[in-house]
């Protein structure tokens, strides 16, 4: 287990290093020169020079860049002279994290449940219905489902608030819009995994021992089938996090995604790259955590020396 954790940690660190190195060289490939823009005040220009050490040779620039990142400094805005990436993150990330956690929980519970229902009713109406929901969920992007929900439940039926983030009723539509795709993916995976497990010998043994169907399904089938589903939690987190760019835009949630898109639209490259680095590192860390959880749950890894 220790060896497994160390191995995953090493891979994560290398990945993080590759990511920040790519960002570093991409910054140097940026189209145009930020200093030519009239919107860049001398103050910002001076900040840029100091921050990136642009007058020094490239390998020193690289070291400066890495040092800044190690200090947890992600750079700052080209457009607004007193705005740093860290401040934006501090201010906006709680909203995004709130939305993201809700979406992960909802997608996992609903997706796994849907997959179990489908597998237990294989080739019957419930299975077809669940898999139809799943394939629609995979095919309809969040920027379609979000406005559709708004149009039906807020504008027409007046049941839920249209936008913003002020209480539970505000969270329902964004959470659903954000999680639908991942929900569908997990439902398909869970179904396939359940159908795989049902033919295993240990299910036969459980039946032969005379366990109740509930115990067989819950203790033996679901528990074993859920393992492959956990492995996609990492990619699902990534999908959900990038999904917030769109969902926060649609529902006017003051989260990180909204600032990100705003940064892109303002051509605020420095802000965008800083936030991208933050997202990338965050997701690499999330992947690492998922790997560790998987290691803890899967006895084949947990017990191995």
């Amino acid at each position: 287990m220790v060896k497994y954790i160390l191995n995953r940690l090493l891979v994560s660190l290398i990945t993080a290093w590759v990511l920040v190195t790519i960002v570093f060289f991409l910054v140097r490939l940026l189209p145009g020169d930020p200093f030519l823009s009239e919107k860049v005040t001398p103050e910002i220009k001076a900040n840029m020079m100091r921050y990136y050490g642009l007058d020094k040779p490239i390998h020193i620039q690289y070291v400066t860049f890495l040092q800044n990142l190690l200090k947890g400094d992600f750079g700052y805005s080209l457009r607004y002279k007193n705005r740093t990436v860290n401040e934006v993150i501090k201010q906006a990330f709680p909203y995004s994290a709130d939305l993201g956690i809700r979406a992960v929980i909802f997608a996992t519970i609903a997706g796994v449940t849907l997959g179990i229902i489908a597998a237990l009713n294989r080739n019957r109406t419930w299975d077809y219905l669940a898999m139809f929901i799943a394939i629609v969920g995979v095919s309809v992007p969040s920027f379609v489902i979000g406005p559709l929900l708004q149009y039906v439940f807020a504008t027409k039926l007046n049941l839920l608030p249209v936008s913003q983030w002020k209480g539970f009723s505000y969270t329902i539509m964004p959470t659903f819009a954000l999680s639908l795709g991942s929900l569908a993916l997990m439902a398909r995976l869970m179904r396939a995994s359940m159908l795989d497990v049902v033919n295993q010998d240990f299910i036969k043994t459980a039946k032969a021992k005379g366990l109740s169907p509930f115990q067989i399904i819950w203790k033996h089938q679901v528990r074993n089938a859920i393992l492959p589903v956990i492995t996609v939690l990492g990619p699902v987190t990534a999908t959900l996090l990038t999904g917030t760019f769109v969902v926060e835009q649609i529902f006017a949630i003051p989260g990180l995604g909204k600032f990100y898109v705003l940064g892109i639209q303002n051509l605020d490259y420095s802000l965008v790259l800083g936030m991208t680095t933050f997202y990338g590192l965050f997701l690499i860390a999330a992947n690492f955590v998922v790997d560790i959880i998987y290691g803890l749950i899967d006895p084949r890894i947990r017990i191995a020396k």
Partner: protein
């Protein structure tokens, strides 16, 4: 027991005897793997519906813009935000541009980006995966470790980074998508090649003195083509989604050029008043992705040798 009038008697049978030449005759015309796959696919109604929709949209993308007298770029201040009517079939946008023309010009962009990116990803993936799987050993290890690391960086993050640097437009979109889009295909092809390369026909090719390139591209890849094709079909909708997503956050194609994602992006600004401006492109994005997913599912069932009876 009613035996008397319809009992089976010896007289009803006739001895045919052995006829060597007829025994060896082939009863039905033999069909190839691909003909068989096509026959199975044709029986899958849902997949065929998907295929028909894709063909329909492709045809409309080609002829659609010419079906209306309006140009997709021409603005008209007299006719802004018109709802769909006999004159403007899909209505007009906030600049008075005809949305039918824009939708199908956008379809050209969205569909060609989707297919082109998916195809190029497949080509790169097949080459790298093929080399990695075939040579094995150190080459394989280096390539697979590199893929593992690139794979761990979220796809969308890399694509956005590339777009920020490359600027907007169709070619930057395609380049950004193929920068890391081939990883999946490379892994898949490598797995297939690892299984295939131990088989006898590869040994036979080696004995006959075939070069490595010939073995990879003439013997191994064609045998993995079914799996590659299914994966290719499945990656088209995700490429279309990526384009729409990027256009939606302001990193896609530049107006006056249009794409479905960009139409949706502009549609959302005013959809509570004029829902058609969002829901028309949204409908086409969703149904295209749905059709391609259904077609991919059908292809997988049709091409998967394990399901063959």
């Amino acid at each position: 027991m009613q035996t008397s009038n319809n009992a089976i008697t010896r007289e009803m049978f006739e001895h045919v005897g052995k006829n060597i030449s007829q025994m060896e005759a082939i009863a039905r015309p033999s069909i190839t793997y691909w003909q068989d796959a096509w026959r199975r696919l044709k029986q899958n109604k849902v997949a065929m519906l998907g295929l028909v929709i894709i063909i329909l949209y492709t045809v409309l993308a080609i002829v659609g813009p010419y079906m209306t007298p309006y140009d997709y770029r021409t603005t008209n201040t007299e006719e802004i935000d018109q709802p769909p009517s006999a004159k403007h079939w899909f209505g007009t946008d906030t600049l008075g541009r005809d949305l039918w023309a824009r939708t199908w010009m956008g379809a050209r962009v969205s569909l060609s980006i989707g297919f082109l990116a998916a195809f190029l990803n497949a080509v790169i993936g097949v080459i790298i995966g093929g080399i990695s799987g075939y040579f094995g050993g150190k080459v394989d290890m280096v390539i697979m470790r590199a893929i593992d690391i690139l794979y761990a960086i979220p796809y969308m993050i890399i694509v956005i980074l590339m777009m920020v640097v490359l600027g907007q437009g169709i070619m930057p979109l395609v380049i950004a998508m193929i920068a890391v889009g081939w990883l999946n295909m490379a892994r898949l092809v490598r797995g297939q090649i690892l299984q295939l390369k131990e088989q006898e026909f590869v040994l036979a090719a080696k004995v006959l003195g075939a070069s490595h390139a010939r073995i990879i591209f003439k013997h191994l890849i064609p045998n993995a083509l079914g799996v590659i094709l299914v994966n290719l079909t499945m990656s088209v909708p995700s490429a279309i989604f990526t384009e729409a997503f990027l256009s939606f956050i302001g990193l896609g194609v530049v107006p006056p050029q249009s794409s479905w994602g960009q139409l949706a992006y502009y549609g959302i600004q005013s959809f509570r008043v004029r829902p058609y401006q969002l829901f028309i492109p949204a409908f086409f994005i969703s149904t295209t992705m749905l059709s391609l997913n259904l077609l991919g599912d059908g292809l997988r069932d049709a091409l998967d040798p394990r399901l063959r009876s």
